[in-house]
Symmetry: C2
Subunit: 145 residues, 2 copies
C-alpha cells in the first residue's frame, strides 16, 4: 500500500464514484433541449463528440463512443436526415466519411452547451485558475490511460 494518501484505495474508489456522479449530473442537465428535438442520450453523445472533433471519421466515432457501427448507424442516420450532422468523402482516403456539425447542428450544440455550462461555470468560479487547469490535466491523463 502506498504511503501517498492520494493514491490510497479509498481515495481512488471515491474518485471513481465521483466521476460517475459528475457525468450523470452533467449529462442530465440538457434533457429538456434534447427531448424538444426528440433526441436522447445517444444523439447527445454523438453531437458532443463530433462538436469536439470536427471532421472526424466514422471509425473514430465508433472507437470513442465504444459502440458498434450498427448502433451508431441508426442514430447517425437520424441526425443526418435531420440535417444536424453532415458527411463528406475523405479527400485523401475516399473510403472515409468525415463528420461535421451543420449550422443547425452547431445551434443545437450551443443550446445544449449553454445549459451544461451553467453548472461548470458555477463550480469553476469557486476555484482558482490553477485548480481548473489541473482538473483538465488530470482528466486528460485518465483518458490517455
Amino acid at each position: 500500500m502506498s504511503d501517498f494518501l492520494y493514491l490510497r484505495e479509498n481515495n481512488i474508489k471515491e474518485i471513481i464514484e465521483l466521476m460517475l456522479e459528475a457525468y450523470t449530473e452533467s449529462y442530465s442537465d440538457p434533457y429538456e433541449i434534447l427531448k424538444k428535438n426528440s433526441f436522447g442520450r445517444a444523439h447527445h453523445r454523438l453531437i458532443c463528440t463530433v462538436n469536439a472533433n470536427p471532421g472526424m471519421k466514422v471509425a473514430d466515432l465508433i472507437k470513442k463512443l465504444k459502440i458498434t457501427k450498427q448502433s451508431l448507424s441508426r442514430v447517425l442516420q437520424e441526425l443526418i436526415k435531420d440535417k444536424i450532422i453532415s458527411q463528406s468523402k475523405g479527400k485523401i482516403d475516399g473510403r472515409q466519411r468525415l463528420l461535421h456539425l451543420t449550422e443547425k447542428g452547431e445551434k443545437i450544440s450551443e443550446e445544449i452547451f449553454s445549459i451544461q455550462k451553467e453548472r461548470i461555470l458555477k463550480a469553476f468560479k469557486e476555484c482558482d485558475s490553477q485548480e481548473v487547469l489541473n482538473f483538465k490535466k488530470v482528466l486528460k491523463k485518465i483518458i490517455n490511460n
Copy 2:
C-alpha cells in the same frame, strides 16, 4: 466574455467533452468482469453507487442514478436475487429499505474496482498530490451544482 482564460467558452466546452470521454473510458474497463456475471451498465452503476454509499435508501438511489423506480426495480431485484445486494428495513423509518453490498457483492465490486484502478493510478502517478486533491475538489463542486 470573461478575461479569465479558464472560464472561456472553449475551455468549458473542451472540459465537458473530456468528462464524457473520461467516463466512457473508465466505465468500459470493467466490461469483461460484468459480462462474466451477466451484468451490464445498469448493474454496474448500481453496484458502484451502493458501494460508495452503504446503507442508502432506495429513494436516494433513484435520485442519484436519475432513473424511475420501475427501471431501478428490475435491476435491483436481479442483484438481490444473486445475493450481490442486501436490503434491510430502516430502524427509524420502517418503510425504508436500506441497501448494502453483501460479501459476494463486495468481492465483485473489488474485482471491478481493481480494473478501473489501474487506469486511475497510472494517471495519478504522473500527477502530484496537490493536483489529485484539486481534481477531487473540482469534481465535487461540479456535482453540488
